[in-house]
């Protein structure tokens, strides 16, 4: 009897997804897909609104990486008003304030995804009881670890509160700069800690928990980790002038399995390089590099991709960890899905170190926070790209001379990963389910584990219209989709 | 055509307060209000074009964009719907090729528009073709009218083939019927000898007149029922160099048409009442604010005024009394129910939007142009004339303790003899129903939508009187076969359309109430929803700025009280936890619609 197995919703991710796996009479997986079941229409609904409200409106796409959306939007608006050029550069302090917020988000977002959503598997195993393998179980098993994570996350959130006025969906960036800088007291609170937040030194220590957890787990389950869903794809990231990853600005670079550069282009030229396919079975589009076509030109973005693209990381502990990471694959690109979590742990440390550098940077205390290029500099169009926690995020806006938004195109990290996510679902389904007569909840959870490694933000991804349920669909032997819908 | 802004401005003395007159001149000349002419008017008046449009766009007879050569306004009223409105409407669309509310037909000949009650409930369906009225429409008659217009006849030629002069009552009688069914002591039984009356009154002191009016116990006939004598005394004692008398002939309450009949049959009785009022309060300026729907009365009424002027009964030093200068002008409205509210009417007379003012101050203290103003209804002025002819005691002897005299009723709906009846206050509902030949009556809309919908079975013994069933003159009978809930909806829609929008409870609340009734009708309401709607109604009535909001929920409230089954029978038992008001079909209909639209796009 052919079977269809549905995971609905995929849990411990952000957003709505549904996975459907089809098995034929011989218990072979015939198809497996990630269906994104939400659509919201942000490209259209922002039109007609005043351009200066766009970055604040569009950050509501996502409650996890709102800072990335806010900043991608702010950069697009900068270009629109003619700021950020050599004639009207964004003040140094403004860019650093934006970076501070961005890194703090990287820290708290990764910490949330990693510890709350991913680590339970490392501790309890993929086929542990669903009631146990989550943050509640983690708290019951290791309250000390959870307490450290809570404090780490809180420190990151408090920086966001300070920079943006709120922990989530606040405001900092305005056209040409930021509205507020950092006071000495605010800086010292995060450097030295107080009754409410840990010190910078403690944060660096907590940040290393992630690496330790990963290495322990890896050591105990090396084969399982290294062979689980090895999914080849190109890797893409924003890189600075030195060719190393820059979360805030730079060019887009794509590398192949040998970490050779296959594409390198300015962000504002993205339309010449990127296209998006549409499938009837998902609200989520499938971006790829035009020159290579969809099959060869689909890219992976996010933690694993960034480590693949970059040569090193700019802070000492992270650089050392990155070296170890690169050495593990002997310099070739890492395609092991679960190693995304290693990369994530490295980036937690990197983000903490980057914040430390900034907090010690006197520029942040400057009051020169905004440039006004004047009406003559208006261009009416801008592309803003940042590296969000989950990967490359692009906002492209146009507004008319009256200031009304006329166009927005948004390509978010999880969308970039759509093809790879589906390949991962298929790979895990094949590995775990093919040939099995009895399928258990734990085997299906393995598919979710594969997805969680990408920390998919289906909320972001479904900015286009609604929600993304994760469902595993099982097709019949003829590849026909089973008509019945399961909830 | 060819009338430019300057000519219009000159004709009206470049007086901003005459803006409605200017707009009418422009619209009659151009068919709409062209931008450049509006700009010219604005410049001439030292204001902005937006300011002119602010006034113009308030009134539904003014149009800032061109329409067909003829604009046809079909009265959409509850009574019309009982009398074949739907067939007439369909035939109009068919014959003209235009759609209601849509663009003109392809030849540019006709625009079709809805309009609320035009004061012809005893001869519906009725329509205005521009300012020319046609009544008792049937599909065949409509086809004939349109055919004639297409053939080149003007509406005026179609309606008045004999070419009767417009200032003659024969012309008015040719267009519309007056249907006076009873000739009572106050109205119609015998004509007022207005010359003698005015002469006799001017012998008295103003105080004496005020006393007589107070003694008569007269209460305003517009609906609110304020003591006329008290109002006059307030106005007389109010400080102001100049004072005004305004006659409210903006008879907009759906179902009423008595003022039209009074102005047709007894105009000078009305004007005499105004002259007496002017004398009693010391006013020099009189205005008759005539609703635009009654434009076919303009020339006739102008002639009545001219005759009075020729008689020395209007104008400077009237009847030789130095210092008593009083004249009356006609002010034609622009299509707005709320202008029947006295302060909105004054705003309109000043050339503004018909937005009710905040009270206090009341018009008697600060009215037209900020000066003391006595504003009374057509029927009130006619009554005043008769009171001063016959004496206050004579008047006081009729009616009830709190409601002296008689009341004109505009009777329409399911009865064999619709028309105008004069009844003493205190007459019972049943007595009136018998008088008018009511046919299997179930309910009566007393005082129009802003009044009460009462049950014939339960309320037959109630009296038409301020102390019981107050009535502004509208009396519409609904037979047992009528869909009362549908009628409630029509009335609520009327208030939504006619709200000026200035205050929140009325602007927003009435729409919500209408939507609530729509949900009931669609079977998307449960008992709790009605309780909510009652609460909304209380808030609208209590918090609104003027009488419109104070009364607009009454169609809902009075039927809920008297006919709860029309609501209960539509309740739906919610299935599961989903609220009755959530319309699942509607919620998902948009998806299929969007997909169809997109499929057409891509194929």
């Amino acid at each position: 009897m052919v079977r269809k197995i549905v995971i609905d919703p995929v849990t411990r991710i952000e957003g709505h997804g549904k996975v459907v796996v089809h098995l034929d009479d011989d218990n072979q997986v015939t198809d497996a897909r990630l269906h994104v079941v939400e659509f919201r229409g942000y490209e259209k609904l922002v039109q007609g609104h005043p351009y200066w409200e766009a970055p604040v409106l569009l950050q509501r796409i996502c409650g996890i990486c709102f800072v990335s959306h806010h900043l991608a939007g702010a950069k697009a608006i900068d270009a629109m008003v003619g700021a950020g050029t050599s004639a009207h550069p964004i003040p140094v302090a403004a860019e650093k304030m934006r970076r501070l917020g961005h890194y703090a988000q990287m820290l708290q977002s990764h910490a949330t995804a990693y510890f709350y959503l991913v680590v339970p598997e490392m501790l309890f195993g993929m086929d542990a009881a669903p009631e146990q393998r989550n943050v509640l179980g983690l708290l019951e098993a290791d309250p000390a670890l959870v307490t450290r994570v809570v404090r780490l996350r809180k420190w990151g959130q408090e920086i966001l509160q300070t920079v943006f006025g709120k922990r989530m969906h606040g405001v900092s960036a305005v056209p040409g700069g930021v509205q507020k800088g950092l006071s000495v007291a605010e800086r010292d609170r995060f450097l030295h800690g107080d009754d409410t937040v840990p010190s910078m030194a403690q944060v660096i220590e907590y940040a290393q928990d992630g690496l330790a957890v990963f290495h322990d787990f890896h050591a105990a389950h090396r084969d399982e980790v290294d062979t689980f869903a090895v999914v080849p794809a190109l890797s893409m990231s924003l890189v600075g002038e030195d060719g190393n990853v820059d979360y805030y600005t730079g060019r887009l670079r794509v590398v192949d399995a040998d970490r050779r550069v296959v594409e390198d282009f300015a962000t504002q030229d993205y339309l010449a390089h990127m296209a998006e396919a549409v499938e009837p079975w998902s609200y989520l589009k499938f971006p790829f590099l035009r020159a290579l076509g969809r099959e060869a030109g689909s890219v992976r973005v996010g933690t694993l991709a960034r480590l693949n693209v970059t040569q090193t990381l700019s802070t000492p502990m992270a650089a050392e960890a990155a070296q170890q990471f690169h050495d593990y694959t002997r310099g070739r690109a890492n395609m092991m899905t679960l190693h995304s979590n290693w990369a994530r742990a490295i980036e937690i440390v990197h983000a903490a170190e980057l914040i430390e550098q900034l907090l010690n940077d006197p520029d942040l205390l400057s009051e020169d926070l905004r440039v006004d290029p004047g009406p003559d500099a208006w261009t009416g169009e801008g592309v803003g790209v940042v590296e969000a926690p989950r990967g490359t995020l692009l906002h492209h806006y146009r507004a008319d001379r009256d200031g009304a938004m006329t166009f927005a195109n948004l390509i978010v990290a999880t969308t970039q990963n759509n093809e790879v996510l589906n390949r991962t679902v298929r790979a895990v389904a094949q590995e775990q389910l093919s040939g099995r007569v009895e399928i258990t909840e734990g085997m299906m959870n393995a598919i979710e584990v594969g997805l969680r490694a990408y920390d998919p933000c289906l909320s972001c991804a479904t900015h286009a219209l609604g929600q993304m349920p994760l469902v595993v669909t099982v097709l019949d032997a003829a590849g026909r989709v089973v008509a019945e819908r399961v909830r | 055509m060819g009338l430019d802004a300057d000519a219009v401005l000159t004709r009206h003395g470049r007086d901003r307060t005459r803006l409605l007159d200017m707009l009418w001149d422009i619209q009659r000349a151009w068919g709409h209000l062209p931008e450049d002419v509006v700009a010219g008017i604005a410049e001439g008046l030292g204001t902005t074009a937006n300011d002119i449009r602010e006034t113009a766009s308030f009134y539904h007879f003014f149009h800032t964009t061109p329409g067909g050569r003829y604009r046809i306004y079909l009265a959409d009223t509850v009574v019309a719907r009982m009398r074949g409105y739907d067939e007439v409407r369909a035939r109009l669309e068919q014959e003209t090729g235009a759609t209601f509310g849509g663009p003109p037909d392809p030849t540019g000949s006709f625009s079709l528009l809805d309009t609320p009650c035009v004061g012809l409930s005893d001869q519906e369906p009725a329509m205005l073709v521009d300012s020319v009225v046609f009544t008792r429409l049937r599909p065949g008659k409509v086809a004939d009218i349109i055919a004639q217009l297409r053939a080149g006849a003007t509406p005026e030629e179609v309606a008045n083939p004999a070419g009767l002069p417009h200032d003659d009552v024969a012309y008015v009688d040719h267009l519309v019927e007056t249907n006076v069914r009873t000739k009572g002591p106050v109205f119609f039984r015998y004509p007022t000898d207005y010359r003698s009356l005015i002469r006799d009154c001017l012998v008295l002191t103003p105080e004496q007149i005020n006393e007589r009016i107070s003694e008569s116990g007269l209460r305003g006939r517009g609906g609110a029922g304020f003591s006329t004598g008290l109002k006059w005394q307030l106005c007389r004692s109010a400080r102001g160099e100049r004072k005004h008398v305004i006659c409210n002939a903006d008879e907009g309450e759906p179902g009423t048409f008595k003022d039209r009949v009074l102005l047709t049959r007894s105009p000078k009785q009305v004007f005499a009442g105004m002259v007496i009022a002017a004398y009693a309060i010391g006013a020099s300026n009189g205005i008759v604010y005539l609703r635009a729907e009654y434009s076919y009365l303009i020339d006739y009424l102008q002639r009545q005024l001219d005759e009075m002027r020729a008689d020395g009964l209007l104008g400077p030093a009237m009847m030789g009394r130095k210092g008593f200068d009083f004249d009356i002008r006609l002010q034609v409205g622009g299509g707005s129910y709320v202008c029947g509210e006295e302060s909105a009417l004054i705003e309109s007379c000043e050339g503004h939007r018909g937005t009710p003012r905040l009270k206090p101050p009341f018009p008697a203290q600060r009215g037209f142009l900020g000066e003391p103003t006595c504003i009374d209804n057509v029927e009130s002025f006619a009554t005043i004339a008769r009171i001063l002819e016959e004496g206050p005691e004579w008047f006081r002897a009729m009616g009830t303790a709190d409601s002296a005299g008689t009341r004109l009723l505009s009777v329409a709906g399911d009865c064999s003899r619709p028309g105008i009846y004069e009844v003493e206050w205190g007459t019972t509902l049943s007595a009136v129903l018998e008088l008018v030949g009511a046919q299997d009556p179930m309910a009566v809309q007393v005082a129009g939508p802003s009044g009460e919908c009462v049950s014939v079975a339960a309320d037959g013994a109630r009296q038409i009187a301020f102390e019981d069933l107050a009535c502004n003159g509208a009396f519409t009978v609904y037979g047992a076969q009528r869909d009362l809930l549908g009628i409630v909806r029509e009335h609520l829609k009327f208030f939504v359309d006619e709200s000026c929008g200035i205050c929140v409870p009325c602007r927003v609340g009435n729409t919500e109430l209408l939507r609530g009734v729509d949900r009931v009708m669609a079977g998307h309401a449960a008992h709790a929803d009605l309780d909510e709607m009652v609460r909304w109604s209380q808030i609208i009535r209590g918090a609104s700025r003027c009488g419109l909001g104070a009364t607009s929920p009454k169609p809902f409230l009075s039927t809920l009280q008297r006919f709860p089954d029309i609501y209960r029978s539509r309740f739906r038992t919610p299935h599961g936890v989903m609220l009755a008001s959530y319309d699942l079909d509607e919620a998902l209909a948009g998806y299929d619609a969007a997909m169809r639209e997109l499929e057409e796009d891509v194929s």
Partner: protein
């Protein structure tokens, strides 16, 4: 003339004719308002200041104090009434606080917060209202307009006294219009005044926004209630 009246049972003394809403504030009773602009003529449009005076509901901005008046403000019924009116405004427009530039210094928002406005009892309408953005420095976001008429009555061309903002149409279709030529002649400080005068985010200065950090915005630094009652932030 000095007179006495009671507000929620307390006897207060005031000058005859003082708007009740101000008498209440002077005596420590907050009555929310949206259209009322102290020192300017009464508009009486929003009705949010509804109270009971001698048993009848009245807008307390539009009624002058008289001797012996019995004024009720804080009864459950009146609180519900005022809140309902605010809910009406929220469903009538699109009050998109999350991205609105005026958030934090929006009077409607402050009033609603003070009332603990939750889900509205009316279905939301989501009207599609066209923004007016032809002027060089003013953006009129009609979605957020509550039709209070402040701009219409109190913003005039400084040379000619002409209206810069006006109304068109009526009822639920009524909306604010902007005279673009006169708007472009407004000096920058008058634009700022107009933005400030607007109790919601309907009048915006183009390209200007979010200048004050969250947490320090007008009604965060000093709540509307305390401003009205004259209680300085501690």
């Amino acid at each position: 003339m000095t007179i006495q009246l009671t507000i929620d049972g307390e006897v207060v003394t005031t000058t005859e004719g003082t708007p009740l809403v101000e008498v209440a504030a002077a005596n420590g009773t907050y009555v929310p308002t949206l259209c009322h602009h102290p020192g300017s003529p009464c508009l009486g449009t929003c009705r949010v200041c509804a109270v009971r005076v001698n048993g009848a509901i009245a807008a307390s901005c539009s009624l002058g104090a008289r001797d012996g008046m019995v004024v009720e403000v804080n009864t459950p019924e009146l609180r519900d009434l005022r809140r309902t009116i605010v809910e009406m405004l929220f469903v009538e427009g699109v009050h998109n606080c999350p991205s609105c530039e005026k958030s934090g210094r929006c009077q409607l928002q402050a009033v609603a917060l003070d009332m603990r406005l939750e889900g509205a009892r009316f279905p939301y309408r989501y009207p599609d209202r066209e923004a007016e953005h032809d002027a060089a420095r003013i953006w009129l976001e009609r979605d957020r307009c509550i039709f209070c008429q402040r701009c219409v009555e109190f913003v005039r061309d400084r040379e000619t006294g002409k209206k810069i903002f006006s109304i068109s149409r009526r009822g639920e279709r009524a909306r604010i219009e902007l005279d673009v030529e006169l708007a472009d002649a407004m000096p920058p400080e008058q634009v700022a005044e107009a933005v400030d005068l607007c109790p919601v985010g309907a009048i915006l200065a183009k390209g200007v926004g979010y200048d004050v950090p969250i947490g320090q915005r007008r009604y965060e630094a000093w709540s509307l209630r305390n401003r009205v009652l004259g209680r300085r932030p501690s």
